[in-house]
């Protein structure tokens, strides 16, 4: 593969995505391998994201590599006013790869253009988080056996949710039918619906969770955050309408699985956790295998 950095899921062809997912399945069978022996990976987290960072660090450690980095920009020279340009030009001398999380949008693309080593975008503000999308795809492929002809219900904050937008764009490469279930204030933005119209994929929008989920192969849950509402009364009205309970799952397909990028707050009631259809913790484990596959692919080691 010619690609060097991974900034956006659109940087990958469908063939490259499938190769990474296939490699992730190999790592799932045999996760501990000395492929990264002698290699150092930097995790530069300019804003905290414990889950993503631990997942990357676990992936590197299982492959025999070493990790250096910082977990919060207040503990790095950024707090002294160093530019991103200078941080990247310095750190790329120490490592074989940079994993970066940064609150500014486009920072990862910029870093990838400066850096002499591959850069993996672990989230740049509200823009892209391609490794999350790849692990979502891996989880869907693994549970459904295919990425084609699936019904995906996206629930919750569809307006600001970066993960649902990326997943929508990625799944639109296959024949997917979408159901968007969101409160009025947090509906899927028009640009994504126009995009689906243009490429001829079906979607359906509703504010009601019950019933519609019976068609789903995948339910993708997201958090409905209070701070997203201009009117707190609106939030109070809808906050319980997008909570999944175990009793709501009785009519759903046997093979249906529930995904969530985590962390969860209250949108999935804990009584769902013991249901075989709950898949979000396995999804987090899949993240480690997927990141192992991404790291090795970008370094040309697999």
């Amino acid at each position: 593969m010619k690609i060097r950095s991974l900034v956006s899921i659109d940087d990958l062809t469908t063939g490259e995505i499938m190769k990474i997912l296939k490699l992730a399945a190999e790592f799932e069978k045999d996760p501990v391998q000395e492929i990264l022996h002698g290699k150092v990976v930097a995790t530069l987290f300019f804003e905290p994201s414990t889950r993503t960072r631990l997942s990357f660090e676990s992936a590197v450690n299982k492959l025999g590599g070493k990790v250096i980095g910082f977990t919060d920009s207040s503990t790095s020279s950024v707090s002294k006013g160093e530019t991103l340009n200078d941080t990247i030009r310095t750190v790329n001398n120490y490592v074989d790869m940079i994993v970066m999380r940064h609150p500014i949008e486009g920072s990862a693309r910029y870093a990838s253009e400066i850096s002499t080593v591959p850069v993996i975008n672990a989230g740049d503000g509200a823009n892209q988080h391609p490794t999350q999308t790849l692990l979502d795809l891996y989880s869907i492929l693994k549970t459904q056996g295919s990425l084609d002809n699936l019904n995906i219900c996206m629930v919750g904050d569809l307006k600001y949710g970066r993960t649902v937008h990326s997943l929508l764009m990625a799944m639109s490469r296959w024949n997917t039918s979408f159901n968007f279930i969101a409160p009025e204030e947090l509906r899927m933005p028009d640009e994504y619906k126009l995009y689906l119209d243009n490429i001829g994929l079906k979607y359906n929008e509703t504010a009601e969770l019950q019933g519609i989920i019976d068609q789903a192969d995948i339910i993708y849950m997201t958090r409905v955050q209070k701070e997203r509402f201009s009117d707190p009364i609106e939030y109070e009205k809808v906050k319980n309408a997008y909570v999944l309970h175990d009793h709501m799952l009785s009519g759903t397909k046997p093979g249906m699985r529930i995904l969530h990028p985590l962390p969860r707050v209250n949108e999935i009631n804990p009584d769902v956790d013991s249901n075989a259809k709950a898949y979000y913790f396995e999804q987090a484990l899949n993240g480690v295998y997927t990141r192992q596959a991404i790291i090795c692919t970008l370094l040309g080691l697999k």
């Binding site: 991103l84 949008e105 486009g106 920072s107 740049d124 640009e191």
Partner: protein
Amino acid sequence: MKNLTDPKQLLVSAIESGTVIDHIPASTLFKVIKILGLDRIKNQITFGTNLESKTDGKKAIIKIAGKFFEDDDINRIALVAPNAKLNIIRDYQVIEKRVVAVPDTITAIAKCMNPKCITNYEKVTTRFKVVSKKPVALKCHYCEKITDQERLEII
């Protein structure tokens, strides 16, 4: 030289050779000057602004003696003067007329409207893919957000 009797040609014929850029909106004249770097060249330049135009309201015109533009250079003004027309002059005659076309990519001209974009934080040359030409819509190479005509700012 009989073209001098035609008032439309009068302005054009006034330079011996060079380029006349006509139908620039009066409001964007100085942006055009800046984009083309006319404030930094030694050629003789005359311009008029707030001229009456039947089609454009108030228009501006620039005459640059001894200067000929490549398409790639001149298309850079399409964002601010989409209806501009070029007259290429040699020996007082218009030998060629050209219109501007919005290019497929825009580099180092426009500002990304997203306040959270890296290009608004560090010294990064802005780059856009033109996703719509009329009205203009630009997709930022970095933050991937769309800057539309209404929010378009020239650096």
